[in-house]
């Protein structure tokens, strides 16, 4: 777990007082129509239910420009559902702010301050005009204060991070399985989930998705249900009885009209998918019965075909075992699914492709890119920890996520990932499977530059951390007179 930060990584800076971690990443509700003024400019919106303290500044209301994500469909008259409108892009900040921001950047020159600290200054200065003349001093003082809170160069931030996550982790109850908020969907939480995230398992033990819907789909329960039907996998056994007729060597499929109707499937669709089975011929007998004849009759074939029929997919997406539709306040209908298939779900019309998420980090990495995977790791790890009532600072988790995604792929922390791929032989040997690493290294004739911590401890040198990183040499020779 001791994630050593790669040397080049920009250190996680510690800006002023910890921000209460609000506005989780997922919680984004798109605009429908603007009911209230947008709370604060130039900041990403917080969902309204979080009750953000509104800044007293008066700002011109900005009409959100129509975003590209609207469907072409004509909108239904929207019922009175309160929608919070986070526009896809932060609205333009007023000129006044821009001017001050430019000034601050001029004072800063090549130095940097975090974005929200600059925002804070701007906010204050706008409120109190007198401050504007003192802007230079303010920025300078802020810079000094900020630099004080920054982590020192060559500080072992990975070690601190590892301990900060590991220590509260010991408080976690082992094997916690929990019905998390979402009705009836069982999600792995707690320590097992955390291990899963850090190990970058190829698929989570309980994959699930939050499928958000678009426009009218999330308001109209029938449309939402329709999408749910498209997503949830429906097998033949779910909608029909399969009967084997041993004397005639045929199979009769008796459709259950009620369930078919509920799932929105027609008998013809079923017939279509049934006839795709090889070496059989299917035909419709009555409205609700399909008869299957074998090309080569035989008891064993009959058995085989019947087995195939049972698991035959009629409708839905592979991997999605179950869906639940819930009505969320301020959002409308949201589909929660057990099982995950991000790629296919995003293709369905009516699904909001901008907010739908899965807890499968690898799938997120494949479909949305490494940065999305990084965000997902942070979010999942943080939620897992805070769900257990553990307060781990965001930055430690961010560091872990940075290390895991540093080479463009999601790598595990541990033998198969980060630690197993270190360049230093001794460092790898110090971690796990010592003998093998040493043997392999000697076969290959590897060299060790003794740059890391573990290597230097092994050979008994000061490690290159903290004061040990500073190389000062004084010449001892006598001064010649």
């Amino acid at each position: 777990m001791a994630a050593k930060k790669p040397a080049k990584q920009k250190k996680t800076k510690k800006p002023v007082a910890k921000k209460p971690t609000k506005a989780p990443f997922v919680k984004k509700i798109p605009q429908k129509k603007i009911i209230k003024k947008e709370p604060v400019k130039k900041q990403k919106m917080k969902p309204v239910e979080k009750k953000p303290k509104k800044t007293k500044e008066d700002k011109p209301v900005q009409k959100t420009k129509p975003s590209g994500k609207q469907t072409k469909k004509e909108k239904e008259p929207v019922k009175e559902i309160k929608m919070v409108p986070p526009p896809p892009k932060a609205p333009e900040e007023p000129d006044e702010h821009k001017k001050i921001r430019a000034q601050i950047h001029k004072i800063l020159k090549n130095n940097t301050l975090p974005y929200n600290i600059i925002n804070e200054i701007i906010k204050r200065v706008v409120k109190d005009k007198k401050l504007e003349s003192k802007l230079g001093r303010i920025v300078e003082k802020t810079m000094v204060a900020y630099q004080k809170t920054c982590i020192d160069p060559t500080e072992a931030c990975g070690m601190v991070g590892a301990q900060s996550i590991g220590e509260p982790g010991t408080q976690m109850t082992m094997r916690t399985f929990h019905y998390a908020g979402v009705a009836e969907i069982n999600v792995t939480l707690g320590l097992p989930r955390l291990i899963e995230i850090v190990d970058a398992r190829s698929s989570p033990s309980t994959p699930m998705m939050n499928i958000y819907l678009r426009d009218e789909y999330r308001i109209n329960p029938d449309l939402a249900k329709e999408i749910a039907n498209q997503i949830e996998i429906t097998r033949l056994v779910d909608v029909a009885d399969i009967e084997m007729d041993l004397t005639n060597m045929t199979i009769a499929i008796k459709l259950n009209t009620k369930t078919i109707e509920k799932k929105g499937i027609t008998a013809d669709e079923i017939l279509n998918s049934v006839s795709s089975i090889k070496k059989t011929s299917a035909k419709k007998e009555k409205e609700t019965t399909i008869k299957i004849n074998l090309d080569e009759p035989g008891y064993k074939q009959l058995q085989n075909v019947s087995e195939t029929l049972k698991t035959l997919k009629i409708k839905g997406i592979d991997g999605i075992k179950r869906v639940i539709i819930r009505k969320e306040p301020n959002e409308g209908y949201v589909i929660y699914s057990e099982g995950s298939n991000l790629k296919k779900v995003l293709e369905i019309e009516g699904v909001d492709p901008y907010r739908t998420t899965t807890n499968d980090i690898h799938a997120v990495g494949r479909e949305l890119g490494i940065e999305a995977a990084r965000n997902m790791i942070i979010q999942e790890a943080y939620n897992t920890l805070s769900e257990q009532g553990l307060n781990v600072d965001m930055r430690h988790i961010m560091l872990v996520a940075d290390v895991m995604t540093a080479d463009g792929t999601v790598r595990a922390i541990g033998r198969h990932g980060v630690s197993g791929e270190k360049s230093s032989v001794l460092s790898r040997a110090a971690f796990e499977i010592t003998v093998n690493h040493l043997l392999l290294a000697s076969q290959r004739g590897e060299t060790d530059g003794l740059n890391g911590v573990a290597e230097n401890i092994i050979v008994g040198q000061p490690v290159s951390l903290g004061t040990g990183a500073v190389k000062l040499v004084m010449s001892h020779g006598k001064k010649k007179t």
Partner: protein, 96 residues
């Protein structure tokens, strides 16, 4: 693109690249990597060797800038993998 999880990616111009490398006194390969097969990279059409600027939404700083070097997808996957032998020696470490 435009998913809530995907931050904004932009390709750096040659001059910006030079400034960046000078500012931090680094070589391009010291930056974190991003594959050229990455969907975010493909959507902006960055080529291997280019540097991508990422405007992250950070919970601590509201907005943070990160850079990644675009690399060939295979070069990472094909790198040497330490054969995982004699697992019996290792007791599954249940750290954390």
């Amino acid at each position: 693109m435009g998913h809530v999880l995907v931050p904004e990616h932009t390709v750096l111009t040659e001059k910006e690249c030079k400034d960046l490398l000078e500012k931090y006194n680094i070589k391009p390969d010291q930056l974190p990597k991003i594959l050229n097969t990455d969907s975010a990279v493909m959507s902006i059409g960055a080529k291997p060797g280019q540097i991508v600027k990422i405007l992250r939404k950070s919970q601590t700083a509201k907005q943070a800038i990160a850079y990644r070097l675009v690399v060939e997808g295979e070069s990472i996957v094909g790198s040497e993998v330490i054969p995982d032998i004699s697992m019996d020696v290792v007791s599954e470490s249940s750290e954390m």
